[in-house]
């Protein structure tokens, strides 16, 4: 599902964020990518999420070599195969939970009625079937992150990327979100969680530790 071969990333200005990383994550795995800040976690997430391209080396996601895809191709890869969950939720305050989740299908070519139907279903999967018409402002932090998870999985992506998904949550809400991620993993989704929280990392069967741009 995820394949990095000698992946390097050097930013303009000379910062070498990743220095030759080799990584294989098989379909259906749940992995935690851990490391202190500055270790290259975010850069790795960008590469895995196809939001950025490596300076050198190969990145292959769901069987597609990132180097061989143009902007539209990468966008389609993200729309169909990758779901993102962010630390700060990134929900639109002006849309209901349902509208926010439905937007997860906007760029996958799904019609509006179908988007809404599947959004409701996804919200029920994360236990928010009773909160469809609530706006983010009316939801707790844990509920917001569950809405964000619902948006990430509404398109039934093969790969779910979560960037510090519990970073802004108290431990109870964090545990709830982790439980959902584990359940998704149980349903067969490949899940990669980026975190510096050892408790979160301990919950994953496989941990990948990064330090100074290398896997250790």
């Amino acid at each position: 599902m995820i394949e990095l071969i000698g992946a390097e990333k050097t930013y303009p200005g000379g910062v070498r964020a990743l220095r030759g990383v080799d990584l294989r994550v098989a379909a259906g795995e749940l992995v935690a990518i851990v490391g202190p800040s500055g270790s290259g976690k975010s850069t790795m997430l960008h590469l895995i999420g196809t939001l950025d391209r490596p300076s050198a080396g190969t990145v292959r996601i769901a069987g597609h070599d990132v180097a061989g895809l143009d902007d539209a191709g990468l966008a389609e890869l993200r729309a169909r195969h990758i779901g993102f969950v962010f630390q700060s939720f990134h929900l639109s305050e002006h849309l209901s939970a349902l509208g926010n989740v439905a937007d997860g299908l906007l760029y996958a070519g799904v019609r509006r009625g179908e988007r809404t139907r599947r959004a409701a279903e996804a919200l029920r999967r994360v236990g928010l079937g009773h909160r469809l018409d609530h706006r983010p402002g009316q939801l707790s932090g844990g509920e917001k992150q569950r809405v964000a998870v619902a948006r990430a999985i509404v398109g039934e992506p093969a790969l779910l990327l979560a960037d510090e998904p519990t970073g802004n949550l108290d431990s109870a809400a964090g545990a709830e979100v982790l439980a959902i991620l584990r359940r998704l993993h149980g349903d067969g989704t490949t899940v990669a969680v980026i975190t510096h929280d050892n408790e979160v990392a301990a919950a994953a069967p496989r941990r990948i530790r990064l330090r100074d741009g290398r896997i250790v």
Partner: protein, 389 residues
Amino acid sequence: MRLAASDVILVGVEGLRSRPARALLSALGVAIGIATMVAVVGISASSRADLLDQLDRLGTGLLRVAPGDTVFGGAARLPKTATRMVRAVEAVESVASTGLTGVPAYRTGHIPQARTAGLLVQAATADLLGTLKTPLRRGLWLNAATERQRAVVLGGLAAGRLGAGPGDQVWIGGQWWTVVGVLDNSTLAPEIDRSVLIGFPAAERYLAFDGHPTTIYTRAADEHVVGVRDVLARTVSPEHPEEVKVSRPSDALAARAAATDAFTGVLLGVGAVALLVGGVGVANTMVISVLERRREIGLRRALGATRGQVRTQFLTESLLLSCLGGAAGAGCGAAVTLGFAVWRDLHAVIPLWALGGGLAATLLVGAVAGIFPAMRAARLPPTLALATA
């Protein structure tokens, strides 16, 4: 993967709805520009249509003959035979004349001599109304009997100033005269509006009028009017044609119709400047919007939006903004035109090309104002959503 048109618009509306006050204010700028332009065109088109309508109704075949000055600087007089001579000219359809009596008219005999209210007591021939195409508002016109009696017909203005109508009496030359009719406005000969009209025979008998006409009105078919005009002076006064002034009253109407065009051009320019300022406002709003919504842009890229889709989204928002303003402006401009038409008692005319032009200008402004911010939005790297946590 392309978005359905309805989704593109939906996402654009969503973007504007997130900051309604700002959207309304920047749309207002465009609205003011479009409203100005539509109103300017509408008002001038309405006025013009009214003038042309009057020209159509009144024709352009009327000529007005009046005495000029003699070579010695004195006032010339038209010969008594002038009316008959003009009638003999080929292609002349009708002739009428009026003669100033120099006697004032009063509501009663108790009004001080000096308070004449600016009214002219004029002798008039029977075919005056037909020649001028001035309609009768109330009562009757002078006929063969009443033109010999102390009967008067009031011009529209004169009736108002004297406060008199058919059946009332007015005081002229120390005697009571009976009002038999009141005229409507006389567009081609405004001097008739201020006149108190009596018959030539009555004027000579009761007011010691000398019988010399002071104005001759003649109507020829529109295509002959130039030819008739050229011979009129010599016909009226064969010995002193230079003492005769011939004019074509419809020229003034035509000139006014033409003048609205020049005026419209200037005001349209003012409207265009307003629209330009409105467009700058939209561009400014869009630039700020892109800066503020980097997170949203990153998120959309992560959800699978292509660069093109981000660009389309912001361009759509810009177009929606300006169209919102354009529609409101066109509505306001039309309302102003309508209000003006009601006030001035005209038919409101809003040319389709003005609305079409307004729409085109609106789209152009929206596109030009949006293209640069939209391109900037599309160039933002997708990693932004994660970077600006």
